[in-house]
């Protein structure tokens, strides 16, 4: 890694910290209004943070996994919607960088790196959540193979209200297929989702694709590889930034809970002086620290090269989502009524953290994979 790249990495991590600090007070408003303002979205995209681990040849900054993680933690510690914007853009960029043809990479990646194009990942459907192999969206070859016609309905798409282009998971001739669909094409309609439990500012939308025609060169990888390779690469990257976002959230909850426990006096003593409150605080502090170390471990494995650290990333995401959810819950408990108020920061983190236990692999799906991995490692000698 060159000195120039290291400098770019440090600069972008600092930019993420600065962006997070500037968003700290406004994030509650965005959550209440159900929207990150367009200008803020564009400003974040323009920092180059959204796909900063792309190689410089494609306009990225070549950030290391650890640097991407730190950036995601800064954003996630303040606003899960901002972290979600980074997550979806970098998921699509990772899938294209890995499985796009040379021409596709040259066409799409620089705009994703610059942030002049924002991407969404459209996989989930009514009947296909954890079981993405059951998507029903069709990607049919038309016009003698020169075009693809995409029809289906996608649900819960993060920043689906705003994305310029979607990486859509569907089927061609029954085989899983991935295809890029620009959202300004005829046949794309977006239905904003409001009032959901968490990630309220993340521009979530249900999307209908009604015979949307795209050129044949919009398909990423051959039919058959759309889920196992393309979507899997995107989801692996997504789990990594979600894990780090959860680290940021857990740490933010510990900080707010500790500040409150140290200064709020009840019964003549600070709250933290009550043993039971101290115990809550201690446990979430340890959970947050452990989550950070597991996320750092995943980053080290990923730094070893393409395709490495998939399981370590699942472990980190599992632990960090759990840490964030418990830190959110216990921080609300320690803050009491203040934690329940409409503008409560820990209350918002609590709601958002619950979503983190569901997205990019529900906790129970992660457990299955982790258990299988452990049995593989230790079961052979039995």
């Amino acid at each position: 890694m060159s000195a120039t790249t290291e400098t770019a990495g440090a600069r972008l991590v600092a930019a993420a910290a600065g962006f997070a600090a500037a968003s700290r007070d406004a994030a509650a408003d965005w959550d209440r209004e159900g929207r990150v303002p367009d200008g803020v979205r564009r400003d974040l995209a323009a920092t180059g943070l959204l796909a900063a681990d792309l190689p410089p040849a494609y306009g990225g900054a070549g950030l290391t996994p650890a640097e991407v993680g730190e950036a995601a933690a800064h954003l996630g510690g303040v606003c899960s919607a901002l972290r979600g914007l980074l997550t979806v853009q970098s998921m699509v960029a990772a899938a294209l960088a890995r499985w796009g043809t040379r021409g596709q990479r040259a066409h799409w990646l620089p705009a994703l790196a610059e942030g002049t194009l924002t991407a969404g990942f459209a996989a989930t459907e009514e009947g296909a959540g954890s079981a993405l192999g059951e998507v029903e969206t069709t990607v049919d070859e038309t016009a003698g193979g020169a075009a693809l016609t995409v029809t289906g309905r996608k649900k819960w798409i993060t920043f689906g209200q705003d994305a310029d282009v979607l990486l859509v998971l569907g089927r061609t001739g029954g085989k899983p297929a991935a295809v890029l669909v620009e959202t300004d094409r005829p046949g794309v309609t977006r239905e904003p989702v409001r009032g959901q439990l968490g990630m309220r500012a993340a521009g979530i939308a249900h999307l209908t694709l009604d015979a949307v025609r795209v050129p044949a060169d919009h398909r990423i990888a051959p039919p058959g590889a759309g889920l196992s390779h393309v979507a899997a690469t995107a989801l692996d990257h997504g789990r990594f930034t979600v894990a780090w976002g959860c680290v940021g959230m857990a740490e933010a909850c510990v900080a707010d809970a500790a500040a409150h426990a140290a200064t709020r006096v009840q019964g003549g003593v600070p709250l933290g002086g009550h043993q039971a409150v101290g115990a809550l605080l201690a446990r979430i502090a340890v959970d947050a620290a452990a989550a950070r170390e597991l996320a750092a471990r995943a980053a080290r494995f990923r730094a070893g090269g393409q395709g490495r650290g998939v399981t370590e990333t699942i472990v980190a995401k599992y632990a960090a989502a759990d840490a964030a959810a418990r830190a959110g819950r216990d921080a609300v408990q320690i803050l009491g009524a203040a934690g329940c108020a409409s503008d409560s920061r820990v209350g918002r983190h609590y709601r958002d953290a619950k979503i983190m236990e569901i997205i990019e692999g529900a906790q129970q799906v992660s457990e299955l994979h982790i258990a299988a991995h452990v049995m593989r490692r230790f079961g052979a000698g039995a």
């Binding site: 499985w99 395709g307 079961g379």
Partner: protein
């Protein structure tokens, strides 16, 4: 672990098909926790989870010091140990001179 993460230096181009197949069936047997023969189609048999395809790509890349490009994603090449052996020999033989890495170009 019986299968190291370091590439086999002599896997290409002269390494015997038998040695490569043995390596691959060993990996598959460990990964899928049941004996896998050289012609068993583990995808067809439903033995793999959603992350296995990527894991297999990473294993082949690391173990045989090659890069699986999107042009190589004919999934039939990845279905059995024998077919993977043919793929590895193809990639590490004739193609070795113009091997490139994702993102390098």
């Amino acid at each position: 672990m019986s299968h190291g993460s370091e590439p086999i230096a002599d896997a290409a181009p002269g390494a015997g098909a038998e040695q490569i197949t043995e390596e691959i069936t060993g990996f598959l047997t460990d990964a899928l926790r049941r004996p896998i023969g050289p012609d068993d189609d583990y995808f067809e048999l439903g033995l793999v989870d959603s992350l296995f395809a990527l894991e297999l790509v990473t294993y082949v890349e690391q173990r045989f010091a090659l890069t699986v490009e999107v042009e190589d994603l004919d999934l039939d090449s990845f279905r059995t140990a024998h077919r993977l052996t043919e793929f590895v020999r193809r990639k590490t033989g004739a193609d070795a001179g113009r091997r490139t890495h994702v993102g390098d170009h």
